[in-house]
Amino acid sequence: MTGSSLDTTLADSVSSTGSSSAGSPKPSATASSGFPALNLDAFKTRVDVINIDGVGRTRNDILDPLVRPLFEANTFEEVVLRAHTVRRRLEELGAFKAINVFIDTSSGDNATRDGLEVTYSVVETRRVVGGVNTSIGNNNDGSVVLQLKCPNLFGRGELFQTEYEYGTKHTTGFQTSFAKPLVPWLWPQPRLTSTLFQSGFDAPWSGFRETDRGLHVDLSFKSRPSIAHSVRWEAVWRDISALTPSTAFAVREECGHSLKSSLKHILTWDQRDNPIVPSKGTLFRLQQECAGLLAGNVGFHKHELELQLNRPVPLLSDVVIQASLRAGIMKPLQKIDTVTCINDRFFIGGPLTLRGFNLHGVGPHSEGNALGATTYWNAGLHVYTPLPFRPGAGGFGDYFRAHLFANAGNIGDFAYTDDHYKNFNILLNRLRYSVGAGIVLSIGHMARFELNYCLPFGQQSGDQTSPGLQFGLGVSFVYLKMQI
């Protein structure tokens, strides 16, 4: 739920009665409507009263500081802008289903001249909300999620949520979480979430099944309006078991139980207009994880970044060029008694990363099972166009895109020296690349289907290619599981 644009807010939420100075303001009043163009910030006003109608269980001590910025407005334009900001803050609280704003002149005994009365008419969410959703992961898998939510549980925007997931690749999961906005009226908007979870899934590209049980505590906040941070501590008990008796022995050696206690920081700066088929904007994501500091027997530090640039081509309409780069590096921690496990390492290959290769089919392999590696990079250049001849334009056809692409990448357990030039050569040595074309379908702006014809090159021993038609399902981001 994003806030509506300023124009529509002004048009449908500002209402005034009576004959005072506000009149019927329309910011871009045209000559045909018969009103002269108005300069809104010429009107000096102040807000006398703020009403919030429809509040049931939401507490005043959280609503009070949220609406307080309105009192600092001096001109009508400021009042309208701040009313809009406050409305967005109330939406982000997650306590209300619908919020309407009414600005009126204030009347009554305590009214000042040029005073305004702002009324927020809200409808609170129900106490318990349930639903069945579908969720799409990054490994060509999808699942059904049954969800039960208690929004605004104690009146201050807390959210209690449990969900159960069942999906392809024998994915099962159960999760219960409690989230609380800490001081939502401050601009960083910190939010504390704690989650308890159990999940299990098959990893057939490596021949193991992983079962995770654990908890994590997450603090998310913004350091700038467009930069979101998430600092998370998690403790996970991972159980890796061989999937079939023919699993490679190198993978069998990594089976067992491990306990990972790690600190993770994710920084996201997303200026794109659409996460799945963007037409402009930039994405920058940096994820860093350090495991093994406090407890557990898994120790490593891992750094990953993702960069994506989108630019529409100047003369041709609807043609977008996208350049993307993902890279990651991981090193074991120098403590004794720590290990790195196969499920912590990086894998590339597949319909969304390096097209033309099997899912996770690039990199060190043993007897057909992927082993993962400690360094990778993956770059892509795409040209997106609408479907040729634009079938279904204006409706269903808008969700499709045709694209031409070139992907390149490399992965391995590289040993670095102090010479940067040599390191650069190591990363480029034996790189794999592929070119091709295909069709992308964006589902609900949350996930994408792709059907591509790919030609892979640069295959190394152990890589598994799938030239020709390849079908893929997934999310643009690498680590999140999005819900539709």
Binding site: W237, A242, T244, P245, G256, H257, L259, G296, N297
Partner: protein, 267 residues
């Protein structure tokens, strides 16, 4: 761990054509810090059997040997592309390569041998499981510290508790003997020792004055009995009654010493 039996039989069939490779490895938990009494018995039985067949192998100690094993049983061997766990499947695998230890027995003797092996497994193995996992004092002082050797707190408590419940619960397809199915969980320690005593008596009677259980040639039963006897004798336990029971049968001790000198002294 589904379908292990079917796939293992297929593996055994396919593996029959190749000779015994030089780089066979036998995997077990760490000897000094981790391995428990029932596993010591199983490991030594398999090692005795392989050495009796004159098949070379090397021992590889791993902390996660139990999770690496295809069926959860210790020990398991890696023979080329095949991974085979537990005494019976390993014996069957070796037999497909044309190497037999009890070929000289006729069918009634072989049936006899299987009956005694089954007795040993039912009684001695169950007694070892009981003492390791059900007896409270041994569990707290020996089993828990050793089983949780490589695992950090609090995971070690969870894993140990799960294993204890698995050992005591009703049988499951993984083939590890479960105490409930043979109603041993309700026994007292004294009853367990009585059962061990009668089992040893039966074995001593069968052995009589012979060198080995079936005359002068060694069989799988010798390897199995050696494994359990040696495990009980060399594993330090807070309660020494099990060792005393074994020691009260001198023929069994001599049988153990004979095999120990032949196959284990020089390794």
């Amino acid at each position: 761990m589904p379908n292990v039996l079917l796939t293992e039989s297929i593996a055994v069939e396919l593996g029959g054509s190749d000779p015994w490779p030089d780089n066979v490895q036998l995997f077990q938990p760490f000897d000094s810090e981790q391995i428990l009494l029932p596993d010591v018995a199983a490991v030594r039985s398999v090692q005795a059997f392989l050495r009796m067949c004159a098949l070379p192998f090397s021992v590889d100690q791993r902390a996660n040997a139990e999770q690496m094993s295809p069926s959860g049983a210790i020990p398991f061997i890696k023979c080329g592309a095949f991974v085979i766990a537990d005494m019976d499947p390993i014996v069957a695998f070796v037999n497909t390569k044309g190497i037999h230890l009890s070929h000289h027995l006729d069918s009634s003797q072989r049936a006899d041998m299987r009956a005694y092996m089954s007795l040993v497994i039912n009684v001695l193995h169950s007694a070892e499981l009981y003492i390791t996992w059900t007896h409270e004092y041994t569990y707290n002082t020996i089993t828990y510290p050793r089983y949780s050797f490589a695992t950090p707190f609090p995971l070690d408590r969870i894993l140990c508790w799960k294993k204890r419940r698995a050992v005591q619960a009703a049988p499951n397809p993984s083939g590890i003997r479960k105490l409930d199915s043979i109603s041993w969980s309700d026994k007292k320690l004294v009853d367990v020792y009585d059962e061990v005593d009668s089992c040893c008596q039966a074995l001593a009677e069968r052995l009589g004055t012979q060198l080995y259980f079936f005359g002068d040639k060694k069989t799988e039963l010798d390897a199995l009995v050696y494994g359990h006897v040696s495990a009980i004798l060399i594993t330090p336990l807070p309660d020494t009654r099990l060792k005393d029971i074994i020691n009260s049968y001198p023929t069994l001790i001599e049988h153990f010493r004979r095999i120990d000198n032949d196959y284990f002294k020089n390794y």
